[in-house]
Amino acid sequence: MIVKTILIFLLTFLGYSEWFLGTSYVQRPIVLGPLVGLAMGDLTSGIIMGATLELAMIGSISVGAYNPPDPVAGTVLGVALAIQSHASVGAALTMGIPIATVMLALNTALGQPVMLIFIHKCDKDATQANTRKFTIDMLISGWAQSWPGLVFIPLAFYFGSGAVEKMLNFIPDFVQSGMNIAAGILPALGFAMLLKMIVNKKNILFFFFGFFIIAFTKFTVTEVAIFSFIIVAFMLFYIPDNEGNVSSSVSNSETDGDGFDEF
């Protein structure tokens, strides 16, 4: 059991190294499932359970700023506990999906703040031109984000499914749904910081232009981007530039944030 728990920990670590390894899909259930099966001594069940989970979580991919349920927790615990208790393929699914959802909330709530400490350390390292510390903080930040999973998954495996269920019931529902709400609101901060960087009196209108196209129509961001290229090309070729020296009009240090005080 101890050896298996250590193997489960190593596979969890591999799963959470997904992004370190170039987002190469080692954490997809179809890849991780067989490895868990191998660790549990039943490769074939691992392959089949992994594929079943893959099918169920096929839409769970991170596009843009959307983070899907955590496939690492779902696959590792779902497959390992199902094989351990000689349960059916479906058991991997019924255990895996709720675990994946809760784990996403835990990693967001407990992992992200820790990660951000290291992201902000990187800011400091950059101002001090300390490249060694920058690299170290970059490396820690990624795994720091997944610390709840790295701790919880091996423990949950060791103490079994009964304990897992009790733990899941322990977290109040409103905290879990609050985390989902936060995942929707948090990107606003990043976009606000980005806007603050490139905004000036003349281009602020274009922010609202892009915003309301998405708000009022069914266009995607890609389509809006293509249109904006056409609009800009039109401006570039057909509207004469009457400002003389253009390059000074865009330097954002002097105009930073002006004209956006209406909020």
Partner: protein, 275 residues
């Protein structure tokens, strides 16, 4: 136009290869605040050090790339190559407008992510899954192996050659554009595309919903959200975004803003105001 890299200035082929290798952990440090910013800066780090021997200039350049950035990681080397070319120009030419680097990066962010996301997640992944899943469901070990190999051979092909394409495009287009005095214009228009895309992405990715009911519940399910949407769709996102921007302009630490957001979200869920 010629997109082939020339390597006749500071940046050499092995510098670009280094960018390729260092682009691999791009999303390792992906965060909700500024997304792939640290990963992007880390990939360019050795090159920036080579371009800016003075500590102050290097630190400035590195900080410049710590602004919010997000791109499909599989083609992240393409904007990195362009950034490399622009940084090289900046290090050689004291008249170069530094803000154009951020503007060009931002302008490319939306379109590249849009194309990259739909190509890799919508096309390559779907094909890889379609081939391998039937095998895996039967317990055939070839299933997972094929999935991994199909996806990643396409992935690394794009990631590797994107570096050189981006740099070649960056050097040739930039020098041509600068000779004709178009740089200022290009920067201005790149910032316009950037603004439109940031506006679109804000509406697309920021999700907020006021679910509290108004009036008597017996009268029917009229929520604050439906009332707000009646004014115009997207107003709730605009309110949240406006408040966030206002707090930023008040020079509140982003970490505090983040904490406020978390607490408001949990409280909103508890009192059933947000959902």
């Amino acid at each position: 136009m010629n997109f082939k890299p020339q390597y006749n200035r500071i940046v050499k082929k092995n510098d670009l290869q280094k960018i390729f290798w260092r682009s691999i952990p791009l999303n390792h440090s992906w965060n909700y605040e500024r997304m792939a910013n640290v990963g992007f800066a880390w990939a360019l780090l050795p090159l920036l050090k080579k371009l800016y021997p003075k500590k102050k200039d290097f630190s400035q350049a590195l900080t410049r790339h710590l602004e919010l950035y997000n791109v499909t990681q599989y083609i992240s080397t393409f904007p990195m190559g362009i950034a490399a070319a622009m940084e090289e120009e900046n290090s050689l030419n004291s008249d170069f407008d530094e803000s154009s680097i951020s503007n060009v990066k931002t302008a490319l962010m939306g379109p590249l992510s849009g194309i990259g996301d739909s190509f890799f997640w919508g096309t390559v992944r779907v094909i890889a899954t379609g081939i391998s899943l039937p095998l895996a469901l039967q317990g055939n070990v070839l299933g997972p192996i094929l999935f991994f190999l199909i996806f990643n051979s396409v992935h690394y092909l794009f990631r590797y050659y994107g570096t050189f394409l981006g740099y070649g495009l960056g050097t040739n287009v930039i020098s041509e554009v600068e000779q004709s005095g178009l740089m200022g214009k290009l920067t201005k228009y790149a910032s316009i595309v950037g603004m439109i895309v940031v506006g679109a992405m804000t509406m697309d990715m920021v999700k907020v919903k006021f679910v509290s009911k108004i009036g008597s519940t017996k009268a029917g399910g009229s929520t604050v959200q439906s009332l707000l949407d009646g004014i115009f769709p997207g107003i709730s996102v605009l309110i949240i975004f406006g408040l966030t921007y206002w707090l930023l302009k008040k020079k509140l630490n982003p970490l505090w803003i983040m904490l406020i957001m978390l607490l408001v979200s949990i409280a909103g869920a508890y009192f059933k105001v947000l959902g």
